[in-house]
Each structure stands twice: as C-alpha cells, then as structure tokens.
Amino acid sequence: MESEIAQITQHTGGVIGNAWLMIAFPLLGAFILLVFNRLTDRWGHLLGVAMSLASFVVAVLAFFELIGLGEAERRRAVHLYEFIPNLDINMGLLIDPLSISFALLITGVGSLIHIYSIGYMAHDEHRRRFFAYLNLFVAAMLLLVLADNYVGLFIGWEGVGLASYLLIGFWQFKPSAAVAAKKAFVVNRVGDLGLLVGMFVIFTTYQTLSFAELKPIEVENGTTLAIGLLLLLGACGKSAQLPLQSWLLDAMEGPTPVSALIHAATMVTAGVYLVVRSGAYFFPEGSGAALAVAIVGAATLLAGAIIGCAKDDIKKGLAGSTMSQIGYMMLGAGLGPAGYAFAIGHLITHGFFKADLFLGAGSVMHGMNDEVNMRKYGGLRKYMPLTFWTFFIGYLAIIGFPLLSGYFTKDGIIETAIEHNQVLGWLAVLGAGITGFYMSRMVFMTFFGQKRWAEDAHPHESPTVMTVPLIVLSIGAIFLGGYLVLSNRLLLFLAPAVGRPEELPTFHFVSVPGITTLALVAVGAGYAWVRYAQAEVPVVQPRGSFVTTFARRDLYGDALNESLLMRPGQWLTRIAVFFDNRGVDGLVNGLAAGIGGSSGRLRRIQTGFARTYALSIFIGAALLTGALLLVGTI
C-alpha cells in the first residue's frame, strides 16, 4: 500500500513558525482574566472574544501559508523549546493539514461560541470567569491538536479535561453540577490511563514519542495492537464512546455554550483526532486495532441514538446525539485513509451543525427561563423564528437531508463502512434512521405542536449577539459538507497527513445505502411527526415500555458503573481505611501498648521489700556462677 504520509520537516519563520501565538493568545486571555480577577469584570468577556478571534486569525493565516506549500511539504514541525531532555521530548508544534483543520474548527466555532456567550452569560455575575475558562479551553485544545508529540498532546488532552471540568462545574453551587464535573474528569482519567500506558509502550518500543520520528507501519504486530487498543481506550474516554460514555450526559449540567463548544464541537472529538493522528502508526487499514475502533464507533452510534430517543431534556437528547455522531466518526476513523477523510469531514460539519443545535437549544432555554424539558416546550417556532430556522437547518444537516452538510459526510462514512465491513455499515444505516426519529422528535416537541409551557414562561427571541453566531453556524451546516466532500477536497488536503486511499472514492448521489438511509430517516421522521407533532405530547413523562426505560436510563450505563465500580470501590476504601487504622497502625500502637503493659507488670517485681531485693541478688549470683561454669565447659 503506497499510502505513505508525508515527511515532517522543520519549519521556522512565517506565520507557521509563530503558530504558538495561536495557543498564546487565549492562554494570555485566561491568565489575565484569572489573575486580575475582578478588575477585569467589566471588559473581560470582550478580551476573551478578542483573544479567541486573534487565535482564529493566526490559524487562518497559517492555513493559507500551509496551502501555499507543496503538497509533500505540508507537514511542518515548529520547535519551541526542550521539554524533557531525558526523554528527548521537545515542546513543538506540528502544523499539517490535519491539525490546521482542527485549529480552524476550534478557533472558528470557538470564536462564534465566545460571541454567543456574551449574550447567553450576560446575567451571570461570574461571566468573566466563564470567559477565562473558555479561553483556557481553546488554548488547551489547540495544544492538543497542534503538539508534535504525544506528551504535548497529552498535556492539551488533560488541559481540555480541566477546562471541561471547570465549565461543567461552572455552576458548582448546584451539587448535580459539581458531581457531574467530577464524574467527567474521573471517567476521562480512566481513558487517560490507556493513553498514558500507550505512551509507555510507544516510548519503550520506539524510544520516541514524537510524531516525526515514528514510522508508519504496514502490518500490525502484537505491540502495535496493544498500543492501538490503549490509545483507543484513551479516545473512548475523551470522546464518550462505549464503555466510557457515561459522563457526557451528565456533562450537560454546564452552561449551554460549553456543551456546544466542548461537549459537541471540539473536545469530544479529540478521541477521533487521536485515532486519526496515530492511524498511520498504529491503526493500519484492516488491522485489528482499526477494527476495534470501528466496532466501538458502531456500537456507540447506536447506543447514543437510542439514548437520544428517550430523553426529554433537550440538552441530554443532543448529548446522546453527539455520542452517536462521534460514533460515526470513530467508525470512519477505523476504516483507513478514506474513512479518515470522511470522519474528519463529519467532525467538521458536526462541529458546525451540532454547535448550531446546541446554541439553538441554548437560545430556546434562554427564552424559556432555562427550562430544558422539551415536554414543557411546544409551538415555539412562532416566538423565536430565527432560533427555529437555524435549529431546523442544523436538524436537517444532522439527519442527512440531501445536499446539506451531514448528508455528504455521514453518507461518506456509511458507504466506506459498507465497503469495508457490511455489518458495521448497515448498523450505521440503522443508526441514521434512528437519528431521523429522535432529532425529529426534538424539533417537533420544541417548535411544533401545542404550547405546554410553564405559567411564567414568556418565550422571546434571543439578542443579536446570540443569533448571529447561529446564523453563521447554520450557513456552515448547509454548505460545508458538500464543499469538503465533493471532488474529495478534504481527502486530498488531508492526504499528506493521514495518507491517501488506493483509489479515490467518488460520491454517489444515488446508491443503495444512500437510498436506504434516506428512506429510514424518512420513516423515523414520519413516525416522530405522528407521535410528537400530530398527537398531544404529555407534559408528564409517561412510564414507557421496558425499552424506553432502558434508553432513559442511559442503557443502564450508570447502574453498571455503580454496581461494578463505585460500590465495590467504596467498600474497598472503607476496608482499606479500617485496615490502615486497625491493622497497620494497630500493630504499631499494639507494640507500644505491649511494651507499656509489660513495663507495668514488670515493675511489680520491685516489691519494695529489701529481702526480695536480696533474693534477686542471690539468684543473680547463682545465675552468674552457673553461667560462668557453663561457659567454662563449652
């Protein structure tokens, strides 16, 4: 297979040479906002937006500088400084088509969400802190995707985890938010363990953690399979894939822009980035590791979709959908270079339409006193038309309505999957159908049907600062997919970084899977129309069948975690604490008490009678004599 990826070459000067500015701007923003604290309350949000935009500008300039280079030279490493000399790890950036795509997405969508947040968080007294965390997130996410080695990636990886933790728990005074934040971090750490150990194995095997020094492999062996599975575990954590999916739904406790930026558009896709970035080294096409990635993706896309069907909380519904869509990306990432392009394509378009949907949901909540229960919405399209239309575009994009973004990228994944593996491919088709149902359900419950509002609800359209980002995002949701997929623009652009498939795929507007998908989506949407637009939606959640309960309870993921990990863990902790106090420390204290006790008993020998003392002298004399005689005979 000649899917060679391009050599990484050192780069100095130019915008790319100063690409660290991309990270530096938002980092500086976060620093200023956190250190100067309340002094910046009045203009902090503006600084945050400015820094994010500055970063975006640098990304765009770097992008143009990059495409100005020859195709084989589009992987530029920028050395920053020596980090850990012992491991020969340098802090450095890798600007290549893959990372710059992410950088553009992160800074672009990120900036929009920054702008949106000005309005959304206007009434929060800690808005400045919110922007500080957002800036911190952007910086960390950029470090994640721009780092030229796994350690740098890992720092960014944990940095976004931190930002996610802080933002999920932004309203930390709500116990549920605090718990959700912690849960997200801890579950992510399970994944991090995989990434960490994966790095150990990589380093031990290749004596390097730098992308530039790793060599692409053709055939996998036991070691690369192990590395692949470990990295996949890491990816599962960050991207909320089975079995580490449970945190994402709880993460919706965070403010909605956070859900849009971190838990939809960017951070959760880091797992996909990791797999694609490592693809050439550890996930060669057709390998066991790649298959594992695809299986995880397929399983998650179904699981997420099923969960999405049963949620009444609009954000949780979207969260299930996010899981599901990332499942598609993972599926694509398990399919080699052709899949990579569609996966990244879907990732980018998803970044737009899912951010659009989330921000739309936020806009709805904004107008509905932060109500998230869709059963208390209904008929909102007339009251917030801009929100409705942008949301509707996002909806069409996600269900794969022909010619919108999702149509191109998702179909690309499905078709590539069917080429590689029939079973997984058709599961993806099924997933698309379910997507059609639950997304339609969401739209119908929210914007159509009767009003089921709470009494004090006065729905209104959101301010311009919130709607403009929605509009920009929905434009992306319409056109981006076609632009990227048709004539394989993205695939060819990415090729130097991730490799090029043996034969370029051509997009079929009419194909068996495509038609089937559309049909299933139509069926799903139709069923939703009947259930949620035509029929009356009960305000109180009906009991539902066994399947509904199964989906509502997140497929019993939390119950499983609780009974398999949490409860035994609590017991283990209790036993360990008991053992430490009574066992280890008890031994020490017991020894001390033993000496004390024997002292207390022995001192009774000192009876106070002179004759006893004389006896002890006498016996001592006898013993001494006996001992000396005995020693003499030896």
Binding site: G600, G620, L628
Partner: protein, 529 residues
C-alpha cells in the same frame, strides 16, 4: 629485726587522694571542736578547696606528663592515665554536687530525732535551719573512696575503697530533711543490700585468692595466663566478684536497689551517687576485667553480654511506666549502666583495641555524669510545699511557668536519649562504635554477637526515648495545673551547677573532640597491667 621493709609511698602521685582524705579528717575534727555556728562556714570552703586542690593536683600530673606507669604504694594503687581521667571527672562532679549540697534545706538537722517530734523542732531551731554539717566530711570520705575504688591495684584495696565509698553514702542517704521516712528506708535498704553484695565481693576475692595465691590484679592475670584451667573455684570467685561490682553500677539483675535509693535519698546525694559512684564503679569494673581478668575474656564476655542486654532492656522498659521523676531517672541510670557495659564488653584483646573501647567508656562516663548532675539539680528546684515535686504529674505545663528551666531540662533529657548534637549522642555513639569495632576485629570471640548487642542497645534506646520524651510532652505540651509546683529561686551555686552541666552537654554535643581528645590521651596509656 628490720625484716619488714618500710613501704615506699609515692606521695606526689597519690596527692589528690591524700588531699581529699586529709580534708575529710579535718572535717571530722571541725565537727568535733568548732562551734555549731561556725561549722558550715569552715566546712564549705574546706570541702570545695580540697576538691579543687585535688583536681589541680590531677591536672598537674597530667600536664607535666608525669603519669606514672607503675603501680604506687607498693602495688596497692595504680594512678595511671585512665585513673587520672576518672579522678578528674569524679572530682569535678563531686565539686558540683557539693555546690548542690550546699544549697539550703536538703538535709535534716538531727538525723536521730524522730520526725515530727519535739526533738526535731529543737534541733531545727538550734541549727538555725542548717542541716547536719557532718554531711561535708561524709561526702569527702565518699569521694575519697570513689577515687580509690577505680585506682585499686589489688582486690583488698578495692574492697576497702568500696566500703570507704559506700559507708558514708549509706548515711547520707538517710539525711533528707523532707520525707524522712522515705529517706531512712532508702538508707536502710541501701545499707543492707550494699553490705550483702560486698560480702559476695569479698567471698569472691577469697576464692580468687585461693586460685591465684594473690589478690593483686596483675598477679591474678598472670596466674590465669599460666593455668587457664577452668577451676570451679575460679569461676565461683569470678561470679561473686562480679556480683559486688555489678551491684555498684546497678546492672540487672542487681539493679533493684537503685530506684528505691535514688528516690529516697536527698537529691544532691542522688546526684552524687548517679554521677560519681557510677563513674567510680565502672572504672573499677574496667580495671578488674582488663587488668585482672584480661586472660579470661572467653569466659566472662558472653555472660556480660547477657547482663548488658538485660540491663538495657530492664532499665528502658521499666522506666516507661514510672511516675516519679527521680525514680524514672534511676531507671534511666540503669539503662545507661547497660550501655556502659556494652563498652566494657569491647575492652579486651590487644591494647590498641582496648584503648579504643576504653576511650569510649571514659568519654561516656564524663558526659553522662555532667548531664545527670544537671538534671538532678533541676529536680531540686521544682518544689511543692512538702518538698520537691517528685510526681511527674506535677511537672505538667512546666514549660509555660518556667520556660528556660524546662527547656534546659528537656535538653538534658534529649541528651539522655542520645539525640545528635547533645553530648549523650556521642557517648552512645562511642560505645556502640567501640562494640562494633571489636566485633569486626578478626580475633573477637563474640564476632557478630557484638552487632547483636548493639542492635539490642539501639532498640532499648528507642524504647528509652519514649519516657524522656514523655516528660517533655508533660512539660511543654500539657496545660499547667492550677496549683502547680513553685520554682524555687536557684542559688548561685545551683545556677552554676546547671550552667556547667549545660555547657558540657551543649559544648561536647557540638564539639565532642574537646573531651574525646582528653579521653583519648588518658585511654592510650591504658590501665597499668
């Protein structure tokens, strides 16, 4: 007719001894002839000056390099390097103790009077609050005995010295002004047990004499070198001699008298016993085992191993649950006797080897003596209406009432515990090092057992640290009792005592070479054999 030649006496060499004894005799005469109100005024300078003078004479011998290399007084007394070192230490310690004794109020006015009787009141009023002035000559006699004991070159002299040292102490123990019942009881116990043990010593001497035909220590050693047969007579003699000596240093299982006597005796006398007597007794042990029994080390070292280990353990463990400060210090003294025996264990074989161990023990004795006197001096200052506040619970919170005093006491305790940067640490280090050193010598019969003994010692030290630390906890980390003990305003003498003890404990702790060098010089000339 002149078949008995006149003995030659090296007066110059023996001068320190003679000065002390002479002063003691003069003291008796003062008691007999001087009027009561003048007695103390005469005794104090006499006693102090005689001790000082004796010390000066010791110094003269050392500084002029006239340390004799042969036994003096017809082979009865050996004033060799180690003996002079021990003399110096004893003289300084007893000088310091006399300063303590000099402090008012420790001694009864009339020992013969029944406590609480009219006689006693009368005696009190007549003496004007001054106790028995006989104390001074008694102390001088005891000191004289202490000087002679480790310098004795034959067992007879040693026996006489033992008695000269002990008899005054028996009396002194009974002279406490407060808590007279306890004092008298201590005196009686000490006397009966002391006499009992010295009978053992004497019988042992007889047995050894029967085996060797002489009581001269080198003579005995020669007899052992020639014969070296393991006559039961010799073994019994050896064991009984050991009883007498080990009793004096308070080694287990002959330690029973120590806590009772230390507790009951007047504190200055306890200080004298805990410092001077111990130094003298260990000196005598060293001399007997090296000079007299050096050729028998295969036999006595295993036994002393057990005794040393037992002593360290018993002293440390029993001290833990003590509630009386002086009693606790008595047990501490037992434990320290054990540590010293570890050093004694290491003295054998080659002269070089012996010098190392001897140096260690001498050094230990010197620094331990000063710390002990300092600690007892502080004990005398913490008082209840009925006398010294002996019970430990009364010491609670002393760190708040008298931070300096408590701090100094804590420092002494840390020195006892052997914490680095105190003199006690280096003392312990010296004996442990000597023991391990001997263990690593090729000819040592004990070999690895020495390391084992050191480990026992180390564990005992750790246990012992507990009760020293417990007192610190009481003084500093507990709240003071509402009616806590008063801190007596110390007299200049007591202040001087404490200051000197502190100076030695700190000074040696920071720069041990100051004393080590002297001990090294003293030890390098070895005991005259």
């Amino acid at each position: 007719m002149n078949s008995i030649p006149a003995p030659t006496i090296e007066y110059g060499t023996l001068a320190p001894l003679l000065v002390v004894f002479a002063a003691a005799v003069i003291g008796v005469l003062v008691e007999a002839f001087a009027p009561r109100y003048l007695r103390k005024a005469i005794h104090v300078p006499l006693t102090l000056l005689s001790l000082l003078g004796a010390f000066a004479l010791v110094l003269v011998q050392v500084l002029r390099g006239r340390v004799s290399t042969t036994a003096s007084a017809m082979g009865a007394v050996a004033v060799d390097g180690p003996a002079l070192f021990i003399w110096g230490v004893i003289l300084v310690l007893s000088f310091v103790c006399v300063l303590l004794i000099n402090d008012e109020g420790h001694f009864v006015a009339s020992a013969a009077a029944v406590p609480g009787s009219a006689d006693e009141e009368e005696a009190e009023s007549m003496s004007g609050g001054v106790g028995h002035t006989e104390v001074y000559p008694l102390v001088l006699f005891a000191v004289g005995g202490m000087l002679l004991f480790p310098a004795s070159h034959d067992l007879l002299t040693m026996f006489v010295a033992l008695e000269v040292m002990s008899l005054p102490l028996y009396l002194l123990c009974g002279l406490a002004r407060r808590r007279r019942l306890l004092s008298q009881e201590a005196s009686m116990k000490y006397f009966l047990l002391g006499a009992f043990s010295s009978a053992f010593f004497l019988y042992g001497t007889a047995m050894v004499y029967g085996y060797a035909g002489t009581v001269s220590l080198p003579g005995i050693n020669q007899a052992l070198a020639v014969g070296a047969s393991l006559d039961p007579l010799l073994m019994i003699g050896l064991a009984l001699l050991g009883v007498g000596l080990l009793f004096k240093i308070g080694a287990a299982p002959f330690q029973a008298w120590k806590p009772d006597v230390y507790q009951g005796a007047p504190t200055p006398i306890t200080a004298l016993m805990a410092s001077g007597t111990l130094v003298a007794a260990v000196g005598a042990v060293l001399r007997v085992f090296w000079v007299g029994l050096g050729n028998l080390d295969w036999n006595w070292r295993p036994v002393i191993w057990v005794v040393a280990a037992l002593t360290m353990v018993v002293g440390s463990v029993l001290a833990i649950t003590q509630t009386e400060i002086k009693r606790m210090l008595a047990y501490s003294s037992i434990a320290h006797a054990g540590f010293l025996l570890v050093g004694v264990m290491a003295t054998f074989a080659t002269p070089e080897q012996n010098a190392v161990s001897l140096k260690a023990v001498l050094f230990y004795l010197a620094v331990y003596g000063f710390t002990t006197v300092g600690a007892f001096a502080i004990v005398t200052l913490v008082r209840d209406p009925g006398g010294e506040a002996g019970h430990l619970s009364r010491w609670a919170g002393l760190g708040k009432r008298a931070p300096v005093l408590a701090g100094v006491f804590a420092f002494f305790l840390l020195a006892f515990a052997g914490i680095p940067l105190t003199s006690g640490f280096f003392g312990k280090y010296a004996v442990f090092a000597a023991a391990l050193n001997s263990g690593t010598q090729p000819g040592d019969s004990m070999g690895g057992w020495m390391a084992g003994l050191v480990v026992v010692g180390v564990v005992a030290s750790a246990v012992a640290a507990f009760f020293y630390v417990r007192v610190i906890v009481l003084m500093f980390f507990s709240e003071p009792a509402a009616d806590g003990p008063a801190i007596a305003v110390p007299t200049a003498g007591t202040v001087a005592v404490i200051a000197l003890a502190l100076l030695v404990t700190v000074g040696v702790g920071l720069y041990p070479e100051s004393v080590l060098g002297v001990a090294d010089d003293a030890a390098s000339s070895l005991f005259i054999r």
